[in-house]
């Protein structure tokens, strides 16, 4: 009881919704564990004296677990940062703690076209932060080599639209290295970063969201943050992860999203979706920029239709958190998935297919996908192309009235 209260009260000291929730959960779990242990021991050793030692031991265990949890959760001094600054912070932390880490890509030396690597070359030297010539296939191939040899490689592709010359290297080389060598080699030290998604004026080749192409490839991890706090935590997780990761950064949020981000390193676990808002009628799933649209849609739905929406940020596209989404759909019975990429073959199709397999009898209405149209990303038609809040709202209405 004591340790439960202790841990529970300590939780608010750390910032962030997940952290608090998870610490509280941990407190409950650890207390339960203690109680069970207590009960078990009492059964085995009816002597009263032992239980005191056990209690102290259990308390100590709680503290230890709590301590470990705090390492993983954001705490300490924070600073107002936008998305590109939080990325710089994550890279800064990595270069400081990992002497083998190198960052390379087109124009990263002066700071990068989106300022994600500003100051790093001056701080860590030109042999750790350097420019490559204009050759994406070369960049990724080179990165795989660096990773396989044991160094931490962080490659930048200037725009996700340019990643396609490197597609063969990523899919055929990076993703399959561990498998084909029987775990003798792997390029888990490789992380590829690329600006992603629509930006308002990007047109065909500065707006693409190619996550679906890579989702079809086992062996890769694909991660997309929705804001600065998530970006730093997820990027550090990707870098630490022992698998090749592609980290897409929503370019429209580089300056637009500003949050209080901890200066110390912290990680957010991969393959865990985050429930931003709990609800009972409809589940809304998305990632990246589109999550902010869905949050708005959720409040619109509450106001105008009295519909309570559960908003889930998938965060990791591959491997994705099937459990969280399915649990939510079992509760609400309706699912809407939204992304900017074209609807045919987009990742919403995969989610939709899996959910109907797992939760068929719980569905009240067909699963709705509100995505980009099956056209190249247009120049002048962008406002019509993107899945805005009105299209999502309409879809919710349809599902409710099904």
């Amino acid at each position: 009881m004591l340790c439960f209260t202790y841990t529970y009260l300590k939780a608010p000291a750390s910032c962030g919704f997940i952290a608090t929730a998870s610490i509280r959960l941990l407190a409950i779990r650890s207390s339960l564990f203690t109680w069970l242990m207590n009960a078990e021991i009492k059964k085995q050793y009816p002597n009263a004296e032992c239980t005191k030692t056990i209690k102290i031991f259990a308390f100590f265990m709680c503290e230890v677990l709590h301590f470990f949890n705090l390492i993983g959760s954001p705490k300490g001094p924070t600073q107002k940062m936008n998305l590109f600054q939080s990325i710089t912070s994550a890279l800064d932390n990595t270069l400081a703690s990992d002497p083998t880490a190198v960052i390379f890509g087109e124009d990263v030396a002066f700071g990068g076209v989106f300022r994600c690597t500003v100051g790093l070359r001056d701080k860590y030297g030109k042999d750790r932060v350097f420019n490559t010539p204009l050759c994406e296939q070369g960049i990724v191939g080179f990165g795989i080599g660096v990773a396989v040899a044991g160094a931490t490689a962080i490659a930048e592709i200037q725009f996700a639209d340019y990643i396609f010359p490197a597609f063969d290297q990523i899919v055929n080389e990076a993703a399959k290295y561990r498998y084909r060598s029987g775990n003798l080699f792997d390029c888990g030290n490789l992380t590829i970063r690329a600006p992603w998604g629509c930006v308002g004026h990007g047109a065909l080749y500065h707006s693409q969201s190619p996550e679906a192409f890579f989702a079809h490839c086992p062996g890769l991890k694909i991660v997309i943050p929705r804001g600065p706090i998530q970006a730093k935590g997820l990027l550090l997780s990707c870098i630490a992860d022992k698998n090749p990761c592609i980290f897409f950064e929503p370019k429209i949020l580089y300056r637009a999203a500003v949050e209080q981000v901890p200066e110390e390193p912290y990680t957010i676990p991969l393959s865990q979706a985050e429930i931003l808002q709990e609800g009972s009628d409809v589940t809304l799933v998305s990632w990246g920029t589109q999550i902010h649209v869905l949050k708005e849609v959720a409040s619109m739905a509450q106001e105008k239709l009295g519909v309570s929406c559960e908003v889930i940020d998938l965060q990791t596209i591959l491997p994705w958190d099937i459990e969280t989404v399915c649990k939510s759909v079992v509760k609400t019975g309706r699912l809407l998935i939204s992304h900017e990429a074209p609807v045919t073959g987009g990742f919403a199709a995969e989610i939709s297919s899996t959910v109907q397999e797992e939760c068929f009898l719980n569905l009240e209405a067909p699963i709705s996908r509100v995505c980009g149209y099956d056209t190249p990303f247009p120049h002048i038609f962008e406002p019509f192309y993107t899945p805005d809040k009105w299209k999502c709202f309409e879809a919710i209405k349809k599902m409710i009235n099904y």
């Binding site: 087109e106 204009l134 639209d161 340019y162 010359p165 990007g202 065909l204 247009p378 002048i380």
Partner: protein, 389 residues
């Protein structure tokens, strides 16, 4: 004032025996002092810089002939491209043009010189700095500016934007760096296959010169002796990276290794023309591909988002502008050889300014493409696309 000059000019006319009625005095109190065309040198020969050669016994001639008409035409072309690009700059800053805009001013001699040496039936493909080539390949300034502003009167119906402009025998306009080079080799293959004696001019920049697909194209073109002229427009900076920092070898004309190459002064329209003529003859004779490196310079940054001064000094830009500006060089040459008058050039300038103004009017007032165009032209025969989603 007007009448006095009219009297004098009439007197002069009587002296030279020309028809007085043919003299016109322009509006707005601007008097053009008419000179007889016999006063101008019809043709002159100029010394041009010798080209560096790679795997070639002899190169293009070191002297170029220029007629008055040609000179004025090149001037007009280059000045139109210059004014059009500056207008695009202005419109971008006013946010009438949005998206990405890569301007060509400074490099006009390349477009004008190449066009002068090839036929309209030859083919040309380039990367995203394409406005100049779109004009030289026959698209009007009006259509180019309307495409930049995304209107239905644009050359690609407003759907392509700055980087995607096309015309007959001009294949754009390509956003992905280096991706147009294998396409160019393919077009050359089609020319060879069809036996039509046409060549394909495939352009790329110093940044793209490090892309793997170029070397694949060189190999195929050389293996099959394709009539492809690979041209590297070396403007010394791949976006913000100077050539020394990006390339192990900055001799771009030698990078084709087994393909012969020329290094050409890209700021001199005559030099470019002679070299392209030489290259086209080489290809048409069935000798296979050839590489040209045009040493040129761009005044603007890489795109409108790039001020262009963080990786090079303003002094450098100023120096190039004052010493090697292609338009000034041509103008001075013609004036020093008495091939045209200052007033004539001024008149051309004014005409071009007017043309660009009219084009801007059109580009800003034309309506945007209709919504049906969003899903149009995805496939050859469009299946109806569900717009409900």
């Amino acid at each position: 004032m007007k009448t006095m000059l009219a009297i004098i000019s009439n007197a002069l006319c009587r002296m030279t025996g020309r028809n007085a009625g043919a003299q016109t005095v322009s509006e707005g109190a601007r008097v053009v002092v008419s000179r007889s065309f016999a006063d101008f040198t019809p043709q002159a020969t100029f010394d041009i810089k010798k080209c560096d050669l790679h795997r070639l016994e002899e190169g293009p001639p070191v002297k170029a002939e220029l007629t008055r008409e040609q000179g004025l035409q090149y001037y007009r072309t280059m000045q139109t491209v210059r004014r059009m690009e500056l207008k695009a700059d202005q419109l971008y800053k006013q946010k009438i043009i949005r998206g990405f805009c890569h301007l060509y001013d400074g490099q006009e001699a390349c477009a004008a010189g190449i066009e002068a040496a090839i036929n309209p039936s030859d083919h040309l493909i380039t990367a995203y700095r394409a406005h100049g080539y779109t004009y030289t390949r026959g698209v009007s300034v009006k259509e180019i500016l309307a495409e930049l502003t995304g209107r239905r009167g644009g050359v690609a119906k407003g759907k392509g934007g700055s980087m995607h402009m096309y015309a007959p025998h001009f294949y754009g306009g390509n956003g992905i760096v280096g991706a147009q080079v294998p396409l160019g080799a393919g077009i050359a293959l089609a020319c060879q296959y069809q036996g039509n004696n046409q060549v394909c001019v495939t352009l790329y920049g110093d940044g793209a010169a490090n892309q793997g697909q170029l070397f694949e194209s060189y190999n195929m073109a050389a293996l099959w002796k394709l009539p492809c002229i690979f041209i590297c427009e070396n403007n010394k900076y791949g976006m913000g990276t100077s050539v020394e920092r990006a390339a192990a070898s900055t001799d771009y004309y030698k990078r084709g290794d087994f393909i012969p190459g020329l290094r050409v002064d890209g700021m001199d329209v005559l030099c470019v023309r002679e070299a392209t003529q030489f290259a086209a003859d080489h290809c048409r004779a069935g000798k296979g591909p050839i590489i040209m490196e045009l040493q040129t310079y761009r005044y603007h940054g890489h795109s409108m988002s790039d001020p262009g001064v963080s990786y090079r000094t303003r002094e450098e830009i100023q120096e190039v502008r004052s010493k090697s500006d292609p338009i000034s060089m041509l103008k001075e040459r013609m004036l020093s050889h008495n091939m045209a008058s200052v007033e004539e050039f001024k008149e051309i300038d004014i005409e071009i300014r007017k043309q660009v103004e009219e084009a801007t009017q059109f580009a800003t007032s034309d309506p945007e493409p209709p919504l049906e165009e969003l899903c149009n032209h995805i496939f050859s025969k469009n299946p109806p696309l569900e717009m409900s989603k």
